[in-house]
């Protein structure tokens, strides 16, 4: 929305750029954020358009064309990134694998974000017994090693997309709770919160419109961190054969399937590994960047 025109010379003198303009300027000057955002957006588009972009069906095997080399190693454009150990097109599997990774990252971060934020804000705002209970729960959660618990649960329930998402969503809320609790504790004592309470605003209203907007930049950073965390954990579980099950294309699974031929055909492991690395790096850069540009004081 354009700023209203004014004729008052005094006002004109003190009005600098609007907050939105400042934000835009900060975003443009932040290469890490731009790179991260760009890569993540690109992968999201690729994942959504997978059926259009993938040159082959990622599930169709052709045993006569196993481990065809990618084009940069002397292969043909028929299979730009080569084929896997069952003759399935590697590029297509990579593209469909983006869906699995992003879906798991986003949904797991969402579930744990909701759990962790609710707990953290409640603990920080109400204090007392609520705080004691939440702190206890956080400690219990922190005492459990994530990978070990995830392995055990998946081993009992069996690996599938839903189970992996559920397990990671229910395990990764600890950082949300810790950070949200601390941030709420800081904000709760501010004058504007007291003012809102004084004019009779309800508790939900105080939390949603006075507290949340002031801690949301912290939340964004944690969301991106946990998203990257969840994607890596999915890859690790799938690599161990306990995550997403074949033939679903998952990057972790691709690394695991290529592992047997690692000595002679290293690209089978390198390609999904590099893509996984780039995605996780991009998400982390995006999170860092978002924190920098939304922080109250200009830290970038």
């Amino acid at each position: 929305m354009a700023a209203p025109q004014t004729t008052d010379p005094l006002l004109e003198e003190i009005s600098g750029p609007t907050p939105r303009q400042i934000l835009r300027k900060r975003v443009r000057g932040h290469t890490g954020l731009l790179f991260g955002l760009g890569v993540v957006l690109l992968l999201v588009i690729v994942a959504i358009l997978a059926p259009v972009l993938a040159p082959h069906d990622p599930y169709v095997q052709d045993l006569t064309k196993r481990m065809v080399k990618p084009v940069f190693m002397g292969g043909t454009w028929e299979h730009p990134l080569g084929t896997d150990h069952l003759g399935r097109d590697y590029l297509s599997r990579l593209i469909y694998g983006a869906r699995v990774s992003l879906l798991i990252g986003a949904v797991a971060a969402l579930i744990s974000g909701i759990i962790g934020t609710a707990m953290g804000v409640a603990a920080g705002y109400f204090g007392g017994k609520v705080d004691a209970v939440v702190t206890f729960l956080i400690n219990v959660r922190l005492a459990m090693p994530v990978v070990l618990v995830a392995l055990a649960v998946v081993a009992i329930l069996g690996g599938s997309l839903e189970v992996v998402i559920g397990v990671l969503g229910l395990l990764l809320w600890d950082r949300f709770a810790v950070v949200m609790r601390a941030s709420t504790l800081q904000v709760r004592r501010r004058e504007y919160v007291a003012a809102a309470q004084a004019i009779g605003a309800s508790t939900p209203r105080v939390i949603l419109s006075e507290i949340m907007p002031n801690i949301v930049n912290n939340l964004i950073v944690i969301v991106t961190l946990e998203m990257a965390h969840a994607i890596l954990l999915e890859a690790a579980l799938s690599f161990l054969g306990l995550g997403v099950q074949p033939p679903t294309p998952s990057w972790g699974l691709m690394v695991s399937e290529g592992k047997n031929m690692m000595l002679f055909e290293p690209w089978l492991v390198l390609i999904p590994g590099v893509v996984l690395f780039i995605l996780v790096l991009a998400i982390n850069l995006m999170g860092d960047g978002l924190r920098d540009v939304t922080a109250p004081e200009n830290r970038s």
Binding site: Y59, V60, Q61, L63, T64, R66, M67, H85, L86, G87, G158, S160, G241, Q245, P246, P247, E257, K259, N260, M261, M262, L263, F264
Partner: protein, 508 residues
């Protein structure tokens, strides 16, 4: 003087290296290093059912009889001669002057104690098929025994030359299977000097080995290490800490062969058959259970392109198998119903059975994830969605025995017994591993297993195999081959029965 000094330093060095456990593998210190991929549940050969166990068994223990792996002729090993004195009684004269690794003399008591122990079902020998044909053994004199079979059992000689090895009576009574597993004692060409479960086994040439048809061992020490990952095995072979690996996947073996003069790569067929087992008896409690319908089982058989699997994945000396046994086995008829690759027909059969859109099922496997994935891909293509589960062998076996497995990719190596009964009778006689529980198949097998007339046996195995193929209880797929990769220093000619024989190895 100087030479002596050098020699003793070298020896001291070698000893200290050996003591730290990092034994150098090579010709110079007469130690051959081999890798096992799977861990042994128990070194006691009656209490494991893995191929690695068979390899250990042939090295550490002896059977009463020996079958030459090339000519298939039987000769005496711990027994010198044998004779059927009636349909069910075999009398054996034992070899004199044989000593166990612990110094105990080998006599008729050892045979009697071993047979009577393993033949009792409650003692829990892992593969009952190997021993449950024996009723008891009796001592006639110190070097004569009689083994009585439960029924007429013509394959007795084959089993006595295979999985039935003789244990020292006193020692076994004292330590039992778990003690035997940790400190094995036998009469074999190699004695066990160290067992570290999950890490390695060290064997040493048994100097007092009797004049056995197995031949005399030449290599002094064998160090067998458990290395589950093939890439690690290959890397160790490159760096010289391993001299020999086996069961190398065909893709890697091809690359190794292409490297030319550093390694010898040999391919041999094995008796191992890969097959899909379906829950035809409906034990798994799947509801509805599609596999109880013969049309669905036939559809599964039609869905798999066996030739493509053999040509592109297994390669080597593998072949397409369409019966529930290995073609070279006695009685393994080949002229039974087979199912050609025809996905359209498979879909049609599924539709006929009431599954026009297919169904989903769990698919279990314990080895060769690549083959299992290829198979599941074929099943997916006709509409059978698979929830793929890879388990350890022992875990899958337990589950299978409880009847909780709807569909599994399994393999069986018949303990290298060259008789169809070692495979088809193992799985189709209403045991806990029998997914078909079919009375008619069992009837045929009962006749075949207990007849002395070769023609009756052949005919009834054929009938049983025909029934199995016709009802499509299994989807037999292919036989395995094994690639042996060794450094040029090692001289070994593998045999077609997937048994590594350390006794026949030497240095070039």
């Amino acid at each position: 003087m100087k030479a002596v000094f050098l020699k003793s330093t070298a020896m001291a060095l070698a000893m200290s290296v050996a003591a730290t456990g990092a034994a150098l593998a090579d010709k110079a210190n007469d130690t051959l290093s081999v890798a096992f991929t799977k861990e042994l549940e128990n070194v006691d050969s009656f209490f494991n059912s893995s191929r690695e166990g068979v390899v250990m068994q042939r090295a550490v223990w002896d059977g009463l009889i020996y079958r030459d792996p090339i000519t298939n002729e039987y000769t005496g090993n711990l027994a010198t001669e044998w004779e059927w004195i009636d349909d069910k009684t075999l009398e054996l004269k034992l070899r004199e002057g044989v000593k166990f690794h612990n110094g105990a003399d080998f006599t008729a008591d050892d045979v009697v104690a071993t047979v009577n122990f393993v033949a009792k079902e409650e003692n829990g020998v892992k593969t009952q098929r190997n021993v449950n044909w024996m009723e008891k053994a009796e001592k006639i004199d110190d070097f004569t025994v009689r083994i009585t079979t439960k029924d007429v059992f013509p394959a007795a000689i084959e089993f006595l030359s295979g999985p039935v090895s003789i244990y020292p009576a006193d020692y076994y009574a004292e330590v039992g299977p778990s003690g035997m597993g940790l400190k094995p004692v036998g009469t074999g060409p190699y004695k066990v000097v160290e067992v570290v479960p999950g890490q390695h086994f060290v064997l040493e040439k048994y100097e007092g080995y009797h004049d056995s048809p197995k031949g005399q061992p030449t290599i002094q020490n064998i160090d067998i290490r458990t290395i589950p990952d093939v890439n690690t095995q290959l890397a160790e072979l490159f760096s010289g800490t391993l001299d020999m690996i086996w069961q190398v996947p065909s893709d890697q073996a091809e690359k190794m062969a292409a490297m030319g003069d550093r390694f010898t790569v040999l391919n041999e067929s094995t008796m191992r058959v890969g097959y899909l087992s379906m829950d035809a008896a409906g034990r798994s409690g799947m509801d509805p259970n599609p596999f109880t319908d013969v049309k669905v089982r036939r559809a599964v058989n039609h869905a798999i392109d066996r030739q493509a699997l053999v040509d592109n994945l297994l390669k080597g000396k593998s072949q397409v198998v369409s019966t529930a046994c290995f073609p070279s086995q006695f009685g393994c008829a080949q002229d039974v119903t087979s199912y050609e690759y025809d996905p359209e027909k498979a879909k049609a059969l599924l539709a006929e059975a009431g599954y026009p859109d297919g169904f989903s099922t769990e698919l279990y496997a314990y080895r060769d994830r690549e083959y299992a994935e290829a198979v599941s891909s074929y099943l997916n293509a006709v509409g059978i969605q698979t929830d793929f589960k890879l388990l350890q062998y022992s875990a899958l076996r337990e589950l299978n025995m409880k009847g909780e497995v709807p569909l599994a990719f399994l393999t069986w190596g018949s303990f290298s017994v060259n008789d169809a009964s070692a495979m088809v009778s193992q799985f189709f006689k209403h045991g806990s591993l029998d997914d078909a529980q079919d009375d008619q198949t069992k009837e045929f097998l009962d006749i075949a297993d207990s007849s002395t007339d070769p023609d009756t046996r052949i005919e009834n195995y054929r009938k049983a195999l025909q029934r199995i193929a016709d009802q499509a209880y299994w989807a037999p797929m292919f036989s395995y081959n094994t690639n042996y990769v060794m450094t040029k220093e090692v001289d070994y000619t593998p045999t077609a029965d997937e048994v590594l024989r350390f006794t026949n190895m030497s240095w070039n």
